[in-house]
């Protein structure tokens, strides 16, 4: 892992996604004493996915607050701390556990500002992770971002690459609103070049991860990597797919999607979360409404099947979109 220079002159270093997150936390904790991390298993153990590794040594137990298993208690404490001057980053070990803490997210953090007529702000980040692929079965593999997008007052961030992970987490910590920051358990050990030092990716700006002219694939989190793989395969068959990584679901960079679809005339929304009621519907419905005449084919969604995630390895893959599925659907859309 050695430093290299990019064309833009910013020093970068190859890092794992979880290292990039760690780098962001460390940077913000150094920069601002009010930033602290709160969560289960985050101290000596360094977090279930090693995102907080080493922070205890550098910042000590008051700024790396390991908690008992009390999800609503700790998220609520994060809300109270954020309301009164700290900038807490609370780790919810799995997004599946959100059901336990949801009241503090839904009725308190998200609404305090509006409900109190603008008196309050809640600079709280809830870091969590979701997704399937590690055999953790139905209670540890969900993708629940759609829930959070439906709550006015929350921002929802889902980085797909190490560089975005660092830049978006930094921006989320500096943001004055509650942010649901959702990582993916199978991204932690993916690698990429990450800018060193301060690195910010603004919330609300999508990233075109691949340019293409035949169809627009909109995705986020781990499925972005699948989309890119599929695009490579499709290219071999003469199909030129554009891949847009939303990065933040709220605020949504609608213009990025609209302008892409206006060029490609075809939209495929791709996500791991269950299709029914998923955020893909929001994207597809928005584009159907706002770019109806630009579409040469029905907008399609490819997403998780209507089932809890099964345990067995061969079954687990069968219920969320795989690269071959994307290739198949993209071809259908162009035929």
């Amino acid at each position: 892992m050695q430093a290299t220079e990019t064309r833009t002159g910013v020093a970068t270093r190859e890092m794992f996604y979880n290292e990039a997150l760690n780098d962001a936390l460390r940077g913000e904790m150094r920069r601002d004493d009010r930033v602290l991390v709160i969560g289960e298993d985050i101290a000596e153990h360094g977090g279930a996915f090693q995102v907080t590794a080493g922070l205890l040594d550098e910042f000590g137990p008051t700024r790396v607050r390991q908690t008992p298993i009390s999800e609503i208690g700790i998220v609520g404490a994060g809300v109270g701390a954020a309301l009164t001057g700290l900038r807490p980053v609370v780790e919810l070990m799995y997004v599946d556990f959100a059901g336990l803490a949801m009241d503090q997210i839904l009725n308190q953090a998200a609404q305090n500002r509006f409900m109190f007529g603008g008196q309050a702000r809640v600079p709280l980040v809830v870091r969590t992770q979701g997704g399937s692929g590690r055999g953790n079965a139905a209670q540890h593999s969900k993708s629940l971002e759609a829930w959070f997008t439906h709550v006015p007052g929350l921002k929802v961030v889902m980085p797909a690459t190490p560089a975005d992970a660092k830049g978006l987490l930094t921006a989320s910590i500096r943001d004055d609103d509650p942010v649901m920051f959702i990582e993916h358990k199978l991204l932690y050990r993916t690698k990429g070049q990450v800018p060193e030092g301060e690195h910010l990716v603004p919330l609300g700006v999508a990233d075109v991860k691949r340019r293409g002219k035949d169809l627009t694939i909109v995705s986020w989190s781990r499925e972005v990597l699948f989309a890119l793989e599929a695009a490579t395969k499709l290219a071999a068959d003469g199909v030129d797919a554009e891949v847009i990584d939303l990065r933040t679901l709220v605020p949504l960079d609608k213009d990025a999607v609209l302008s892409s679809v206006r060029r490609t005339h075809r939209l495929l929304v791709l996500h791991e979360a269950v299709k029914r009621g998923g955020y893909g519907a929001e994207i597809a419905a928005t584009i159907a409404e706002e770019a109806f005449d630009d579409l040469d084919a029905p907008p399609r969604r490819l997403a998780g099947l209507e089932t809890p995630i099964p345990y067995a390895q061969h079954l687990e893959k069968s219920v969320v979109p795989q690269v071959e599925d994307i290739v198949r659907v993209a071809k259908e859309m162009l035929s």
Binding site: R34, L36, T62, R63, R65, T67, P68, S70, E71, I72, G73, I74, V75, G76, A77, G78, V79, G80, A81, A82, L83, T84, G85, L86, P88, D103, Q104, N107, Q108, N112, R113, F114, M115, F116, G117, G118, Q119, A120, R121, P152, G153, K155, D175, D176, D177, P251
Partner: protein
């Protein structure tokens, strides 16, 4: 107790009582939308506890929050304005009775979620500890809230982290229509404190002197960095759960007679006079002053413009 303290406690309690009477009246005149929950009967608790708090100490309150708000020195006009949906209201008409907050006085808000404020006060106490100040936080909540998971998780957290926080359980004998006797298999809610490793104190919530004394000790303890205290104040709710509650779950005697039999404001008047701390005339003067301020508040609210239209996203997001 010295005269100034006694009279101030009396004034706060009397203000709360009058506020509840006045808002009930406004509700009856169809000027208030939604629901209101009267704190009448429980005044001694908010008054006795908040007397020890500075403006930079925090509280979280409940759906029955007018009393806490007033005890934390809120402006009556802005409170009424909120109830009447006016722009000058604390929440610019967005919140209403169940969400009045006054962050300038450390009131982090009423809460429509039973038990919802308990973790928030815990987090505020964490801020004090983290920043090394001597601020304290107080979570007010009802007997009903003591059976919520948030109570349990928060008290444990505060105990292991020794946070400067008071958990003040206002046992007004009911959670909506459920009497405490049916909600707990134990007589003394304060005993729960032991399970978390913090002191638990049961106090007569009818006697503002008792509440004042217990809170003094708990606040001092918190400021000294010695951690949280659970205070359970036995009290009584004069009115129904909400304005208009048919109170089918209570006896006629209870509905009609109990508010006279359990009256912390009248009690205070009595012992202040009996102890020679003030004359009836002095107390009457306070009453008149309170009533006048109340009318000023109502008039202010009624004269002030309706809440302005909602702007999205700027009202929903701080940075956008």
């Amino acid at each position: 107790m010295d005269k100034a303290t006694a009279l101030d406690l009396y004034r706060v309690m009397r203000t709360i009582r009058r506020f509840e009477q006045r808002s009930t009246q406004l509700f009856g005149e169809n000027k208030i939308w939604g629901t209101i929950h009267s704190y009448a009967g429980e005044e001694a608790i908010a008054a006795g506890v908040c007397a020890h708090l500075r403006d930079d100490d925090w509280i979280t309150s409940t759906h029955r929050g007018h009393g806490h708000c007033i005890a934390k020195r809120a402006d009556l006009g802005r409170m009424f304005a909120e109830l009447l949906g006016r722009e000058a209201g604390y929440c610019r008409g967005r919140g209403g009775s169940m969400h009045i907050a006054d962050t300038s006085k450390g009131n982090l808000g009423a809460n429509g979620i039973v038990g919802g404020g308990i973790p928030i006060a815990t987090g505020a106490a964490l801020t004090a500890k983290q920043l090394g100040t001597d601020q304290v936080a107080v979570a007010f909540f009802g007997d009903g809230a003591a059976n919520q998971g948030t109570f349990h998780e928060s008290l444990n957290l505060a105990a292991i982290w020794k946070l400067p926080v008071l958990y003040v359980c206002e046992n007004n004998q009911y959670a909506e229509s459920l009497p405490v006797k049916r909600a707990f298999a134990t007589e003394d809610i304060a005993k729960r404190a032991e399970g978390y490793g913090m002191p638990g104190v049961r106090v007569d919530g009818r006697d503002v002197r008792a509440v004042y004394g217990v809170a003094a000790e708990a606040v001092a303890r918190a400021r000294r960095g010695e951690g949280p205290t659970l205070i359970v104040a036995d009290s009584y709710r004069h009115e129904g759960h909400y304005y208009g509650d048919p109170r089918k779950y209570q006896s006629k005697d209870e509905v009609e007679g109990w508010r006279e039999r359990f009256d912390p404001v009248a009690d205070a008047r009595r012992w202040i006079a009996e102890d020679g701390l003030a004359t009836e005339a002095e107390l009457d003067a306070i009453d008149r002053k309170v009533d006048a301020e109340m009318e000023k508040g109502v008039a202010f609210a009624e004269a002030s413009p309706l809440a302005s239209p909602i702007r999205i996203p700027e009202e929903v997001y701080a940075s956008h």
